[in-house]
Amino acid sequence: MSTAIHSSAVLQAKLWYAQRISAMVLGLCVAIHLFIMFYAIRGGLTAGEILGRTQGNWLFAIFYEVFVLACLVHAPIGLANILRENFPRSYGLSILPWVLATLVLVLGTTAVIGVFTGGVGR
């Protein structure tokens, strides 16, 4: 087997593995998140309520950052699989999973920092 094909095979296997492991983490995170959501939306959602729970709360911060990192692994690989299947010859589209990964990491971590600190001012 030529090295190019071989390293691609190893990469594919590792991506599959990473996506499944992150899926296991997300299974837990999403289930917990759904419960938190149903609890939180009762009687409307305000910033004060949200920040009241998350501000200074290390447990929430760690939980949500783990959540963000699991999404970072899981979603772009899923998107890449769909693109590879439906647009096999469009190599240009392969930038999209990277774009998604960047958005998830940057915006996600900013969101976690934001709700943990409750605002660092404008």
Partner: protein, 243 residues
């Protein structure tokens, strides 16, 4: 005695062609193979189709009936007829030679490509290999070895349709059974053959293979087994080596 006729649309031609409608007398206890045979013998001798045992053992008569891949000898008209209409086409995902006969070469070549064949190192001068029937490997192999290569699963798979080099459920299922053959000596080659973008990880588990297999085999199970094994081989290595 009045005869009710079936309106049977049959694919005539090859990759280019059309559906031609025939009127076939309807009987009780009639299979789709009976219908195709009637057309060829009584209505149009130029119709090409395959069959052999006609009793559900050989898998030669597999065709697309009303959009679903089936063994025509084991498909009763009464079970699948839509009103009084039937549509019979060659198996999907395989090149058409003529009418209802497809070119099975790529199907069997992929079987080979997945190292879906046995190679051991013992000779007639050695003692018998001992494989306990209740061992885990033997039971896993048993679950998949009844495959007769009819290509119904191959013809039902989305991934085979969209990715021409994907090995397909039958080849991967066979590779899995051989992965569980403790006498086989090509395991690392086999794992390498079923890795990569034509291999097991390309399966996206929509399950048509398991749903349609006329022998109730479950390629999804074998492919899941391969996915784990190949991933382990890539990351940690297996008892046969690292990918």
């Amino acid at each position: 005695m009045s005869t009710v006729n079936l309106k049977v649309k049959v694919w005539r031609g090859a990759e280019q062609g059309e559906f031609v409608e025939y009127l076939v007398p309807r009987n009780s206890n009639q299979t789709v193979l009976d219908v195709v045979t009637y057309i060829q013998r009584k209505l149009d001798p130029t119709l090409s189709y395959r069959f052999a045992c006609r009793v559900g053992m050989c898998g030669s008569c597999a065709m697309t009936v009303n959009g679903v891949a089936r063994w025509t000898c084991r498909t009763h008209v009464a079970k699948i007829v839509e009103g009084d209409s039937l549509e019979i086409a060659p198996l999907n995902n395989l090149p058409v030679i003529k009418d209802l006969a497809t070119d099975m070469r790529e199907f069997f070549n992929k079987w080979k490509g997945a190292v879906g064949f046995f190679k051991g190192e013992q000779t007639r001068h050695d003692d018998f290999a001992v494989v306990k029937p209740d061992s885990e490997e033997r039971q896993l192999a048993n679950a998949g070895i009844e495959c007769i290569g009819c290509a119904v699963c191959y013809a039902s798979c989305d991934v085979v349709a969209s990715r021409t080099n994907y090995l397909g459920p039958a080849a991967l299922n066979r590779a899995w059974t051989l992965t569980n053959d403790v006498r086989d000596t090509q395991q690392l080659d086999r794992l390498r053959a079923v890795a990569g973008d034509a291999g097991c990880h390309t399966c996206h588990t929509h399950g048509s293979c398991t749903e349609r297999c006329p022998k109730q085999l479950e390629p999804t199970a074998g492919i899941s087994g391969l996915k784990k094994l190949v991933a382990r081989a890539a990351v940690r290595g297996t008892k046969w080596g690292k990918l």
